[in-house]
């Protein structure tokens, strides 16, 4: 009967050894990631799985592989909701993919937490000139880049030219300042009892209050290079802007705002397509919806109006970077692919096929003149390129990650009427300062 004991011990021992082996394997970074042809395999993760985007990524990967003898990129699609938590788990386990598309706004934070690799060893001084400076700066932590900008976006004003003509406005002379915007909007309104047959404009569709604050200030709440030495949330100008935004809702009425909002959310029923809304702030990609759902619409597009003349047509954007997670098995090969991915050729292909803003300046400018776009498409894309010059990003400073979670609720309370603009901004200011204090 001693056998039993031996058996038990052997079993447990075996279990431990097996699990031990497994533990070894996952944390082994030097594993050979080569395929049967002897090529180095670069594991590339994106969340682009839609029937529009996926073929474009796959084509770029295919072209890269065809140009290579030594590297083979393998594209893996992971849904938007999972990709970055999966990446994080893979980094912690020591077996991450080699290139991942990630959010540009938290790139510095990921650098600080050592999730993404410091890429400064790969690029020289002139490399950054290929990209819009604002995008490049958003990827820096202590001067080094932790992700190369891939695509981006901006916000522009779409307006209905026929409606302009109808009320005697020059369709080639869209509003340049906030004052003009208000004046034109009032002219374009067609009121019918308590509701509107046509609404001129409402500032909080398509963008949030923060874009208007950015437009008025010409900078985010923090100091230059997103340092947190100064926090400018509770300022006189911001109070004024919030009150200005609220005055629109007070004038138009909550019910009208809500019913238009519901139609905008439903996409196909967007009141801008039917001419019920004369102007709307949107991303340039909004053009593809007009093309698909309202091809006869006679529309124009212009940069965001400025706060007052000479203040600048500041707009807001976000975007994505290609990064190498810490622990990648072959960073050199991964970098080669990133260089190709963010190079002019594949960036232009991406821009034209997806009608998406890209980070590479040369590619963006070429896309605006591409024969593959219609005349209207070229016009909108050119406006997007122009707007990029005035587009700011609002990346989270490392000392204030997700700072907007402390500002948005206060501003919500202001718009709901339970706080004044001064009260809301004062609370937001002190909360964000406390957050910075905690993280320093």
């Amino acid at each position: 009967m001693k056998n039993m004991k031996t058996l038990l011990i052997t079993l447990i021992g075996l279990g431990l050894i097996l699990s031990g082996c497994a533990g070894f394997q996952t944390s082994n970074n030097d594993k050979e990631s080569v395929n049967e042809d002897g090529k180095i395999v670069v594991d590339f993760w994106t969340f682009w799985g839609s029937e529009i985007r996926r073929p474009v990524v796959d084509k770029i990967v295919e072209d890269f592989n065809a140009s290579q003898d030594e590297i083979e990129v393998k594209h893996t699609y992971s849904p938007w909701g999972d990709i970055w938590t999966k990446e994080l788990a893979a980094i912690a386990a020591g077996n991450p993919p080699d290139v991942v598309i990630n959010d540009i706004n938290a790139t510095a934070l990921r650098g600080k937490e050592q999730q993404a690799m410091n890429l400064s060893e790969f690029y020289d001084d002139s490399f950054s000139e290929k990209f819009y400076p604002e995008l490049w700066n958003a990827t820096l932590h202590e001067g080094d880049s932790y992700g190369i900008p891939f695509n981006t976006d901006t916000r522009v004003l779409f307006y209905n030219k026929d409606a302009f003509e109808e009320v005697g406005l020059d369709p080639e002379d869209p509003p340049e300042t906030w004052a003009e915007l208000e004046e034109y909007a009032a002219k374009l309104d067609v009121k019918n009892g308590n509701s509107y047959d046509r609404l001129g404009f409402y500032p909080l569709w398509g963008v949030g209050y923060d874009v208007w604050l950015l437009n008025a200030n010409g900078e985010n709440y923090f100091g230059p290079d997103h340092n947190t030495d100064t926090v400018n949330i509770n300022t006189e100008k911001n109070v004024e802007v919030l009150n200005w935004l609220k005055s629109w809702k007070d004038r138009i009425g909550e019910d009208v705002v809500n019913s238009f909002q519901a139609q905008i959310d439903s996409q196909q029923g967007n009141p801008f397509f039917s001419g019920d809304l004369a102007m709307i702030v949107q991303q340039p990609t909004f053009y593809t919806q007009i093309r698909d759902y309202a091809e006869d619409l006679n529309f124009g597009v212009v940069q965001l109006p400025e706060y007052e003349e000479g203040n600048g047509h500041t707009s807001w954007g976000g975007g994505f970077v290609a990064e190498i997670p810490k622990g990648s098995s072959d960073p050199e090969a991964a970098w080669k692919f990133i260089e190709y991915l963010t190079g002019a050729e594949s960036q232009e292909y991406w821009a034209v096929k997806n009608f998406d803003n890209v980070a590479n300046i040369e590619a963006a400018e070429a896309a605006a003149e591409s024969d593959e776009l219609t005349e209207q498409g070229q016009m909108v894309y050119q406006m997007a390129v122009d707007s990029m010059e005035d587009t700011l990003l609002t990346p989270a400073p490392v000392a204030a990650p997700s700072y907007f979670n402390y500002i948005n609720p206060q501003v919500d309370e202001f718009f709901l009427g339970s706080k004044t603009a001064e009260e809301a901004l004062a609370k937001a200011q002190s909360d964000v300062e406390a957050l910075i204090e905690k993280n320093q």
């Binding site: 009967m1 699990s19 990921r110 050592q114 809500n258 907007f404 609720p409 709901l416």
Partner: protein, 303 residues
């Protein structure tokens, strides 16, 4: 001496352990291990990838003393649990009492009321976001027919949590099924005896049906209490941008914890939060178990 070997008893217990070995390994690897790890991690500044320094009780101290959002999220969660648990329990009992009647077509109605329980996840949330749309949604449209000017539901901080509770009430079918099964098991002779004594239907319900189904009520209350504290997806999807808006009214405990762990990469902090939640739920469950003998009736049990 060694020849005697193991007694039958010991042999059997060893066999037993071998049989449950897969569970033990799984439990240690996937439950107890991570549990202990998160407890240890809650005293560190663990960020998942690069640092894990011991910082004592700083996480707990910051949470309890300084963090306003922690308090908001705890309050939101308590509010939700305190309202949703009694309401869904009462709703499920009421519904199963109705569906326990002997009327033609009752099978059809049972199926109909159970249907929402088989739908789950994000699809349901998106459906309810459309139903609750203030201007064009079905709920306010129907309220309008009877002259009620419906609220702004998911856009009004005072109405966001009631909106979620309304949605939960719609899908009480799952626990309704448990109540229905247990009501069907109540002996007919009890009702017959009560009828002969002249008891009304209402008194039969209060004095026979309810006491006989208390074990299921107890089970339902315990599980939905724990489930209530775990509310996450609803807020993540239905607060629009996943931040818990408007005005932080949908910032539930688990959503805030998730944000700390995966947006701010402050995993140590999130682990400390999870242990505070664990202690709260543990205490409530112990209270529940202690109170149970006072009102839960098990058939065939001596009192």
């Amino acid at each position: 001496m060694g020849k005697r070997g193991l007694s039958m008893r010991r042999k059997e217990s060893i066999y037993g352990y071998i049989f449950i070995l897969p569970f033990i390994i799984g439990f240690i690897g996937f439950t107890a291990g991570p549990l202990l790890f998160s407890f240890a991690g809650s005293f560190t500044d663990y960020n998942i990838t690069s640092q894990m320094e011991f910082i004592g009780v700083e996480n707990y101290q910051t949470l309890i003393v300084e963090d306003g959002l922690f308090r908001t999220s705890l309050w939101n969660t308590l509010y939700y649990v305190l309202l949703s648990v009694p309401l869904t329990t009462l709703g499920a009992i009421f519904l199963s009492a109705l569906l326990n009647q002997d009327v033609p077509g009752i099978r059809f109605f049972r199926t109909l009321y159970y249907l929402p329980a088989i739908l789950s996840g994000v699809g349901v949330y998106l459906l309810w976001m459309q139903l609750l749309e203030p201007g064009t949604g079905m709920v306010n449209l129907v309220l309008g027919w009877v002259g009620i000017d419906g609220p702004n539901w998911l856009f009004d901080p005072d109405w966001t949590k009631p909106s979620l509770i309304l949605m939960k009430l719609w899908s009480v079918g799952g626990s309704m099924l448990l109540y229905l099964a247990s009501m069907q098991g109540v002996s007919k002779s009890l009702y017959e005896a009560a009828e002969i004594d002249g008891a009304s239907r209402w008194r039969q319900f209060i004095h026979i049906t309810i006491p006989m189904i208390t074990p299921v009520i107890f089970f339902d209350v315990v599980t939905s209490l724990i489930g209530g504290f775990q509310i996450f997806q609803e807020a993540y999807i239905m607060s629009g941008n996943g931040e818990g808006g408007p005005a932080n009214s949908l910032l539930f405990y688990n959503l805030y914890m998730w944000n700390q762990a995966f947006e701010n990469f402050d995993m140590g902090y999130a682990m400390a939060m999870s242990w505070i939640l664990f202690v709260i739920v543990f205490i409530l469950t112990v209270i529940n178990l202690k109170l149970a003998p006072r009102w839960v009736h098990y058939e065939g049990e001596d009192k």
